[in-house]
Amino acid sequence: MLEIRWHSRAGQGAVTGAKGLADVVSTTGKEVQAFAFYGSAKRGAAMTAYNRVDDKPIMNHEKFMHPDYVLVIDPALVYTADITAHDTDETVYIITTHMNTEDLVASQPKLEGKKIHTVDCIKIAQETIGKPIPNTPMLGALMKISEMYEIDFFKDSMIRVLSKLPQKIVDANMVAIQRAYDEVQ
């Protein structure tokens, strides 16, 4: 069982990201689950989204998890949200920030000694998609760090997942995914 927790603000696309990831993973014969905990359910409020992936049907519906990956797609949540909740020694973090990993850990001491990767999904999204929607670039970074799928397969899959969007937006998302894949530290 692979478990992923997203930390996001409502409106940044964590749910769409989690569901998109689940959709892609599902096509490879795995069982998937993607859900979210909305809290106060207002745009801008901190929220969490979750993925589970397994080879057998997923029965567990608890929100509680020991995450294998923690994906933080809003930089401020490193300081205001409990992003290390129930982590393990093996938990891998991918965090959106303008800082490098060393400076980030220095700014948030509770990340000391953890497996931290950084990438500026907000900047990438602004420069490619034109909006600070950091969900798809985070998935590009996840592909690099987790080595879950070849990036070309993943991008092809995401083209299908995003197929209801205008072609221009889909293209921009592909650039964003590739950039985050290349830039994650």
Binding site: S26, E31, V32, Q33, A36, F37, M59, H61
Partner: protein, 407 residues
């Protein structure tokens, strides 16, 4: 008919809401009258979009309240259309008056209830308060534990509800957020196969049959009211379960997915069992498997059909169990929980010597963790060993503060 078909993949990653909306599209609902409410909004929103995009031939009626939504459904069903809608929580509560109307008038409406807590305090998350509120309304109540089941049970609901021997409205329940907003793999039907299963709507006593005028919604006082209510109860007690079983069988033949009036998991040799509904059934299934590694023969009973109440099936499922926990996800507010009472009622005149205890959990969406269930199974094993309930009969799980226990 003038609508487009939709190409679906064999497995789509859908949340429970979208699965229900897709089922409503594939069943080709004639009328949806709705007043959307969290967390069921995407169901009627989904139907409306399918309609606007030309995938359904029907009518979406936007009304001014949930009371009006069900009233609109009643009118459309009496007129002779295939009718469905969705609601939750406060909206469901406002609908209650009309729920009794629709069942009393024997109108086959399918209502997707995305279970949510009832205020106060206001809460949009999932518990079973609304589902419990509907249990005396004369509707059939089916409970889904996952998006796949929300999809499947919609087809089953139409087929049972619209049968001319049944003609009773049917709720399809799913847990707010835990199912409705949780995306999982859903095995789909093609549009033709899905519609073929549900079948063309066959009207009965419809008001649009102008050659056979009928009066729906009559008044009866002391003279006839009891007879009509007795008839409705009789049909719920005698006609619905056989029809549900028949439709479950047909559905299994079509899809390979087997549904049972009472679902039993690892119950063949179980000593202790948890009885619950919704997503908790699946979480408990996983825990029960893990308990067996610790030497506890744990099983799970899931209530698939809450109404009519599966009295005989419950007795059969629990006959050899030594300790049973009834898990109620709704505040009983001054009584034992509904499941506790109804299990006790079913088992009382049997040879069962089971130690029966009740638990209240998960109100307002509070997480039911696997750790909670591990502790619970251990308590059940202690009860089984002692041959009696060692704890109070009613305990609360997962609530902050001093331990709550009564009775």
């Amino acid at each position: 008919m003038a609508f487009d078909k939709m190409e679906l993949r064999d497995i789509e990653v859908w949340d429970g809401n979208f699965a229900a909306a897709q089922a409503m599209r594939q069943a080709q609902i004639d009328v949806v009258a709705a007043y959307p409410i969290t967390p069921s909004t995407p169901i009627v929103e989904g139907y409306a979009k399918f309609l606007a995009d030309g995938y359904v031939e029907g009518e979406f009626v936007m009304v001014e309240s949930e009371h009006a939504a069900m009233s609109g459904c009643i009118g459309a069903a009496a007129a002779g259309g295939r009718v469905a809608t969705a609601t939750s929580s406060q909206g469901f509560a406002l609908m209650v008056e009309t729920l009794y109307q629709s069942s009393g008038m024997r109108l086959p409406i399918v209502l997707n209830v995305v279970n949510r807590a009832l205020a106060a305090p206001l809460n949009v998350n999932g518990d079973h308060s609304d589902m419990y509120l509907g249990r005396d309304s004369g509707w059939i109540q089916l409970d889904a534990y996952s998006p796949q089941e929300a999809y499947d049970l919609n087809f089953i609901a139409f087929k049972v509800s619209e049968d001319h021997d049944v003609r009773l409205p049917c709720m399809v329940h799913q847990d707010g957020f835990m199912t409705s907003h949780t995306a999982q793999g859903v095995k789909t039907f093609t549009d033709d196969v899905a519609y073929g299963f549900v079948g063309e709507y066959k009207p009965m006593n419809d008001m649009l049959d102008l050659d056979h005028p009928v009066t729906h919604g009559v008044q009866t006082e002391e003279d006839w009211h009891f007879e009509h209510k007795a008839r409705q109860h009789n049909d719920l007690m005698t006609k619905v379960m056989p029809k549900i079983q028949e439709v479950f069988d047909a559905f299994e033949e079509l899809s390979g997915r087997k549904y049972n009036i009472v679902e039993k998991y690892d119950m063949d040799d179980a000593d202790v069992a948890v009885v619950c509904m919704g997503t908790s059934v699946e979480t408990a299934r996983e825990v029960a498997k893990e308990m067996r590694a610790d030497g506890i023969k744990a099983g799970v009973v899931g209530i698939r059909v809450l109404r009519p109440y599966p009295f005989a099936e419950i007795i059969e499922a629990l006959k050899d169990i030594k300790a049973i926990a009834a898990l109620d996800r709704s505040s009983p507010n001054g009584a034992p929980g509904m499941l506790f009472n109804e299990l006790a009622g079913a088992l009382f005149n049997t040879d069962s010597k089971a130690a029966l205890s009740g638990y209240v959990y998960g109100l307002g969406g509070r997480d039911l963790t696997k750790a909670h269930l591990v502790d619970l199974y251990k308590e059940l094993q202690a009860n089984a060993d002692a041959g009696k309930v060692l704890t109070p009969l009613q305990q609360f799980i997962g609530v902050r503060g001093p331990k709550l226990a009564y009775l």
